[in-house]
Symmetry: D4
Subunit: 248 residues, 8 copies
């Protein structure tokens, strides 16, 4: 902003007005980012881990007060039961551990990305991470297909889902153990492929580190990776890819 | 393909014809992938590390014979000097260590992705990796801007390049040490951000592992990461993002 | 001491007197260091982890008997409830998990360091570590400001606290995930910055190792680092920085 | 042996005779194992790394004196040149870095395993390790096919070699980077699959550790793994599998 | 298959028929691999970890419906109690944590591998992993001997079991701590030796990583290794070794 | 600045003037930070690793043009010889590998920190890192004492230097191997102690990681740590500690 | 033995007699080593971790039946309560978690090592490991002194115990965090020093790995190290050092 | 000393005299420990790595001036050639890389430990480390036997050396790869066994870390370990074990 002002790209008037707009809600132990929609295309998401129900409720109330719907991840079933009592319109997905409260009348949520996403998992036990990705992507506006349990141990299972994969604007591959599914999918489609390593598997999976390293070292060029079990991050990456880029 | 046939999506005729098409060139120690354009939108790229000049030349000749231009990475200056003698039209970038030979008359290179990419580096010593990304992205059809040496140690250097960053359809952030620039850029744009950790830095950078982990753990949601020093992979990821997705 | 005697810097008389002074209280399984104030400027602090309530109470009693107030860290809520019964003047901070008992009448605590400290956290979940640092620093005599939840994911949140940061004689930055806030703060102030990595975050944070490495590899020169979740250690470092250095 | 004697399974006479047979040749810094054929089905192989040419020649001479042919691995080109001068019948494979001297007239090499082995590599740069495996397996008596450069980055390259893979009594998969080829091959054949991780690849391959972990965590059940770059060990494993087991 | 068709090895008729055969049972969150017997010689095994009893029962029912017996691993005692109620013919091994339901009348299980396997453990605490290997191998058709607690700490214990080890067609060595038993057994038999590192032991065993690395670095050539605590994988490897290889 | 403007702490006039001041010198591949003195109290230091002599000379010229003296680290002897030819007033320290060019007439270097620093090394081989710290600290204005080779292997060597250590306003401890000297010094002085792990030592030192971890886990409370071999960073930390803090 | 027979060092008669002696008690899941006294100077010790009370009782009964007293480590309080009921003469140390049953009338325990051992701990929380070492060493015949809580954080606490340390024939140093006490003690005595790293400490102690590495890299020459928390192993090492060596 | 004075154990006179004795020779960059014989039973040994020939010569001259012979380790062949010219009586062992200069007439070397040491290696490539241990132990006064190349890959090679091993007062086992020889030797003798991991071996040996971990996790109780390739440290440990302990 200051740079834009210095280079004459914006007027001093607009600069000062912008400075006056509140961009953070001070909730004590939380500095809520009210500006994220403008910068990144979607409002701040509540990361539930390590927060009390009281703190979670306070954040949800404040987000809903902006007129947009509110969304949280990593919320355990006990906290969810309490939140549902306070926000009866909210929906809890116990596999994904996500909680979403629609904005209600007068929704002024920002425009969301448009596009098709296919979330693919190697095994059944990768589902919680895949569901977190799917729920987040849906909340952000994408049309999501979920294809579960098609890892390379049974290589004939993947081909029957190839069209669903190839039709997607972006693919999220969720896999633990050695993560080979990401390489295989990456070799079969030219769309962006976001790989999510999961902490699923026997001893040598090292709680996801093996899958993480394998995906990063993948010979399928152009594969990109997010952190272990980070389904939320994968969905955010997809939202960036599908656009619209609010910065443009 | 077989799945498509079984589900009646393609005719038996087309199926058999497709099977007959040569998709691999057998060069002895190399099985050249002639089908990559159809699958991924760009021809196979030559990974130069650990290959003799003779093998490199053989691959370049075969790729050029398909009528498309040919491109190689991780090619040292000595090998490059030999290759330039054989392919006088080729261009070697000694910083990026890439070698590109245009297809010449009758170029039937596949349509390439369209869009703007900004490659940002934290320091001067990140340049070789950034140049590899930039050269690869240019060869794939993108318009590339390179912004060097704007890491967070001097945080006032980044703002004057913010417009270049925000105008891009995709951003590649190349950073070693603690890789914080990726988090900062990720917080400032809603476009896709591909982070490339580099092996630059003092002892605790652990040859890029620190930057890699930091980028994966970034609090800037939606950041995606490729392997250490993998500028080529970042450019391929960008090509997937910019499309056109050949599978669709 | 012996060196000083040999070089004639202190008299034999003072040397022998000093030798006679009890410097350790033998409590059986604990050798209490009664000499720390003289050496380091503050009495020994009780590390609560792995100690029974009986042992904790014995130590607190012995420390209070020296006439100075007593302070403990890493004390769980159950142990704290017992301690409060025995030491009704004591104050327990359940977030920081610290317990402090004032010396009462005739306090002969040593002079404490003077100065302003700002403790900054990247997220809400970093608060327990930040509170441990803040409580310890306060007990040591410093004036402490706490700025929470201003990490780089929302980069506009930090600037409004810049003055608080720049006014401090020393800054403690508490951050998990990729720890980028430490680099950013380090680039914005010339005061000493002590970075504390926390074990907060998704899989690739590796329980604080990622933040630790990132802070050590930071491109913000002059950043110093303490161990993971070691809020107490950061406060001790600040006490050393603020002085007075008892050795001088 | 002693156990057999105690249980009456062998006669005291045979026991004492067996004790008298020299089983080790004392060459000073080397205790040559002359008994390995009896125990494992093939004579001791010379591990060339870190041995002088003089020591290598001494070992080869002693092995040839037993009437069987002699074989060495990890022998550099300079040492090989010297060895060829001393053993003109020897054959050096510069890619595999193996040196083999046939036993000549009156060969009393032990009977060797019989069977077909297919060695598969993911990339061209995996060839040295694959060649070490192939040369060793051939020396041990197996019929070896080598299929190079069919990694999952170009997934259509593998199918045309499927019959060669499925016809084998044992398969060795040599792959670096993320090692996904081992999982894929393991899912396509029911024969024993020995996976050899190689130290080939970009930064996140961690000099073979990534491929090693990925192969160990493979979802293709029954895959077995040997150490990084250990083509020799893979061939020995194959020899054990093909038998004849000398212990039976 | 497509490759075989293209090369004229199979008729178009057989190709189309094969395509029509259902090879996957879609159970919602599970894509059951009904084709594994044909590819690998034994039906899919149920990996119990992270699956609900409802899902487990659904899979067992579907597998039994194919007329073959069904087998699951990593099934806890509570889930087992529920499964036994539903499948009274099933047998639960609480040490191995395996559950097996025989196919009953009209068993059309595929032909199984034939041969003798000896499972050897270093200590008593390695038994759960060894039992998992033994139960799996038995289910697959092998004759299994189990020799427990003969690690190198008491080196005289092994010799009295040497004949059992040498009589086996394949040996599985299960060992934690430093895993030396695998090297010793590998030096005493020429049969295939599959080493399974276990997570048993004091601090420096690093939850099995030490045994894993030691087995991979073993000087006993031809030793092969599976993942930590992966008794199931070791049995699968043995099944591949004993054959019959269904691909041939 | 913008925050200060919004809160009325600075005038609009001063704000705009400040924006107009050039803070970065664009040297192509380098964005030179001309603003560091104002922010951190000392000008940018040239990090020599991976930079050509041409680039180094360009930076030195530009820094000297600001009227302050210029300083570089990690400069090899060959580059230094070239630089001395171009900057005859420069002084190269071959142990520290630093190069310093005084500003000459009209020096307008910023005021530097004042105070005494003692740099202590455990062994003789830690000297290069210690010298880098000492040279940097001297250039920044501190009075530096260097005490070498007083590690705990010979614990009687340290006492005779205790007065030098206790007289310092800040102590830098440079140690490899197990880094115990830092703990010992930390227990003997109340001044700030900055520990620098070095990559010196036998195999288990893991190129400095052991010393790094040991220093971070030190039981001497208040010890702070910088990256491996980062003598420069330690000196910067000392400069922050000695002040004057330019932000205040 | 066989070697001795072959070289005529022992008579055939003695050889056969020795072979007939039972050296292992087969208890089913346990192969009890009855020969350890002869080989190593003390009977087998029961490692309690992962064993049921029934198995523990069976082993204790069998060991007592040999006429020597019996000793177990890593036995939890619940198992101990059961064992005390069955073996009323037994003594349980709840800190060390050891259980010892004296042999009673007609003790034919082997002669034990003679000598003085001093066990030193850095902190109070290292006591369980130190007590395990002390109890084991006492059971083996040594005279044990225990000096607790004299770590380098309070360096004046150690000197008053120096005579106890210097009087010992062997010293065991038990320390967590950075383990510096081992280096310091190693520099102060010429007796054998066995260092035991413990898993005590804050985040960067990495559950004992930091102390382990630091002790291995110690600059105090001649320090030897056992595994993390392995107090038992340290006592065994001391028994070997004090002798008598039964092999001689 | 001060403690002894305070407790009346030594006279003030002796205390002051002792303080006056020079215990360190200040050679500039080296503080030579002249007191080590009194404390540890042998003079300081010169660690050659990273020291110039000039520094080495200066140290040797000063050590010889004390009337005792002087000894150095890790000295390369070039430095050795120079040293031999200056100290013609010196002897260089190019395998061990040690350099020893006898004291000449009037040797007042301290009394050295007495006893027999057997150094055992697993392979031929472990010899340099074993020779360093052997040379150091010999210089310290021990009678050394060296048994090379008897690793467990050929388990019949060890028995014929069992008497040499059992006759020793202390055994040093030098092994790379998986280090199993240490466990085996530890199970066969009751004497102290010092294990030295070496950086020898294929990829999964991880430059000695595998052998190190395996030795620490060894099931042979009482094994002690020194750092990777630290033959010198193993010899020092043996010297401590053999005594005489100068502190007593």
């Amino acid at each position: 902003m200051a740079g834009q002002l210095a280079q004459g790209e914006i007027s001093l008037d607009r600069f000062l007005k912008e400075l006056a707009r509140p961009r953070t809600a001070d909730l004590g132990e939380v500095q809520l980012d009210l500006d994220r929609s403008r910068r990144c295309g979607y409002p701040e998401v509540v990361f539930g881990e390590g927060k009390t129900v009281a703190t979670l409720a306070k954040i949800f109330r404040r987000l809903l007060a902006t007129g947009a719907d509110a969304f949280g991840t990593r919320i355990g079933p006990d906290a969810a039961a309490d939140l549902v009592r306070e926000f009866p319109a909210g929906r809890y997905n116990p596999v994904a551990r996500t909680f979403c409260v629609p904005a209600g009348v007068g929704d002024n949520s920002p425009p969301r990305p448009q596009g098709r996403v296919t979330v693919v998992t190697a095994g059944t036990t990768d589902l919680p991470v895949a569901e977190e990705a799917a729920e987040t992507a849906r909340w952000m506006g994408a049309a999501v297909s979920l294809v579960a349990d098609v890892g390379v141990a049974g290589p004939h299972r993947l081909p029957s889902h190839l069209e669903t994969i190839r039709a997607a604007d972006a693919v999220v591959v969720v896999a633990g153990m050695e993560g080979a599914l990401a390489s295989v999918v990456g070799g079969l489609t030219g769309a962006p492929v976001v790989a999510v390593p999961t902490s699923v598997g026997y001893g040598a999976s090292l709680e996801g580190v093996t899958a993480l390293l394998a995906m990063l070292a993948s010979c399928a060029a152009g594969l990109v990776v997010v952190g272990i079990d980070n389904g939320f991050g994968a969905a955010c990456a997809v939202a960036r890819i599908l656009g619209p880029n609010p910065g443009r």
